[in-house]
């Protein structure tokens, strides 16, 4: 029987054991395979599992390490890949019936980079069809359940990645984030999740939702694990037209930072607080107090008119998604999930001027955010307006009523059009035992600072050490 404690460990903890040869990558693989076998029937976090490939990769990693070829903290670590990352020879469905048999001939750049660092694919995680939704069900593959309470949603669209890491099926997973699809499931599942600056991580081989706002990012138990993954994933890629060619940074080194003297803007916009439930507000306020205790200077600030950038984000997504799906959805509309189908088809009715005006609104927020970041180093908000709710059709149930499930990404989507780095970390638990998230946002390419600040906060709490009893 595999060592069950391994499946509750972080990447950093596993790496320490593997590097010291106290544990073999084969032991690690067997622990996660066993954990997945016992939990997946209830959780439904995966579209494709790769147990044989996992065992082969773990055996190879063991041989390489024994031979003195240790590559670093990801060597011998299994990773969950949202099923829109191309994997050579392994089907990549994007959560859809239309592409259910698509088998890429090469890996996504980010998958190849993780493999170069010694990690390997454990499987392909479930997701909202074509990443177009905050929490809706996936009728074809089934919706993942939240390990903290199986009756509650995980958030999406990287729903399986959130569920799998939270349940200890893998120690880390990849997601994509166009409106909050890394941060929302991370927050609702009690994880740390980072949406990097647009352009830092290659999108080549990642099935698109909205080219100009899609971001690749990791979900893990800790910010330290996020930093480990970032060190392997970041880098210029000529095959991604939006890729940024910048000098590499060491995100693990950024973990040495502290919060003393950091100027933090605490968002006061009604847009943030209109739908946020009191439990989240209370946890957020406590977190802000903690940030000041750690030496940060926190001050209230309003960005203003966030409904405008929110509308721009939705408009740009509608237009770009419709363009990408233009031919497929006319050929086989019945193969799409009804909700996703309508969202895409709505784009047929969008005047060109609306897309252009959304880009102009986006430009006004480039200026607004730049101005704010002259005064503040970071902004903070709750990550989601509520803990993981229960789904009711296209709505989710809250203590004070219902709201459309898309509102789960209300507080995250406003930072996507401008490509800002944003990370979520757990900042408390509701009375029902559901996790809540704190979001840090910084100026473009300040990922090291964002990660460093989130880590400093996380080190002063123990929320990230909790695991669901499941």
């Amino acid at each position: 029987m595999a060592d069950a404690t391994l499946s509750s460990m972080t990447v950093a903890e596993l790496a320490t054991l593997i590097k010291a040869k106290d544990v073999s990558p084969v032991d690690v693989a067997e622990a996660f395979i066993e954990r997945t076998a016992s939990t997946e029937p209830q959780l439904n976090a995966w579209i494709t599992l790769l147990p044989e490939a996992t065992r082969a990769a773990a055996k190879q990693a063991e041989a390489d390490i024994v031979a003195g070829g240790y590559k670093g903290p990801l060597h011998g670590i299994p990773i969950g890949l949202k099923d829109l990352f191309w994997t050579k020879g392994v089907r990549t469905t994007s959560g859809s019936a239309i592409t259910k048999d698509f088998v890429p001939s090469e890996d996504a750049t980010v998958v190849a980079k993780l493999q170069d660092a010694g990690a390997y694919a454990f499987g392909k995680t479930s997701m909202v069809e074509y990443a177009y939704g905050g929490s809706e069900h996936n009728d074809l593959y089934g919706a993942p359940k939240n390990p903290w309470d199986l009756a509650h949603v995980t958030g999406g669209s990287s729903s399986g990645s959130g569920a799998a890491v939270a349940a200890g099926q893998v120690p880390i997973a990849l997601g994509s984030d166009t409106a909050g699809s890394v941060r929302a499931p991370a927050a609702l599942c009690g994880l740390s999740g980072h949406k990097p600056t647009y352009g830092l991580i290659s999108r080549f081989g990642v099935s698109p939702l909205s080219w100009s706002m899609d971001h690749v990012g990791p979900l893990a138990h800790t910010v330290e694990d996020v930093a480990i993954a970032m060190n392997a994933m970041v880098g210029f890629d000529a095959r991604d037209p939006g890729s940024a060619n910048r000098a590499p940074e060491d995100y693990l080194a950024a973990l040495q930072a502290d919060l003393r003297g950091l100027r933090i803007g605490v968002l006061e916009d009604d847009f943030i607080w209109d739908v946020t439930v009191p439990e989240v507000k209370a946890a957020f306020d406590q977190a802000v107090t903690q940030l000041t205790t750690l030496g940060a200077a926190a001050e209230g600030v309003s960005i203003g008119n966030l409904d405008r950038i929110s509308a721009a984000q939705v408009t740009i997504t509608t237009a770009e998604a419709n363009t990408y799906h233009h031919e497929m959805i006319q050929r086989a509309p019945e193969l799409y999930h009804p909700v996703v189908r309508r969202r895409i088809e709505a784009g047929f009715f969008m005047p060109a001027a609306a897309y252009v005006q959304a880009q102009r609104v986006r430009a006004t927020f480039d200026e607004r955010y730049a101005s704010l970041f002259e005064t503040f180093d970071l902004l903070v908000t709750p990550t989601t307006p509520s803990p993981a709710p229960v789904a009711n059709g296209l709505n989710v149930r809250l203590p004070n009523g219902e709201m459309p499930s898309r509102e789960l990404v209300r507080l995250t989507r406003v930072f996507n059009p401008n490509g800002l780095p944003a990370i979520t970390v757990p900042c408390g638990f509701s009375g029902d035992g559901l996790p809540m998230g704190l979001q840090f946002v910084g100026p473009r390419f300040s990922d090291a600072q964002v990660i460093g600040a989130a880590h400093a906060y996380q080190q002063s709490t123990d929320w990230h050490k909790r695991r669901p009893v499941f």
């Binding site: 890729s243 509308a311 006319q330 309508r342 784009g347 009715f349 252009v356 005006q357 102009r360 200026e367």
Partner: protein, 63 residues
């Protein structure tokens, strides 16, 4: 007239132009989504954007 004020008759004309069968009952489901989408346009066109050109800046922050 606000951008969001699309009546069903106009919607069906636009739907035909977009290649839909106007008799398809699916359009009854799609109509509210289109209205919701057009409703956002009022917010966008109500935003002062004088002096701002469309287009996303490159990741390096240039033009």
């Amino acid at each position: 007239m606000g951008q969001s004020e699309l009546d069903k008759e106009t919607f069906l004309i636009l739907a035909r132009q977009a290649g839909f069968d106007p008799a398809d009952p699916h359009l009854d489901d799609l109509f509210p989504d289109v209205q919701l989408m057009l409703g956002r346009m009022d917010v966008l066109f109500g935003t002062p954007t004088d002096g701002f050109e469309p287009g996303y800046r490159s990741p390096e922050g240039g033009a």
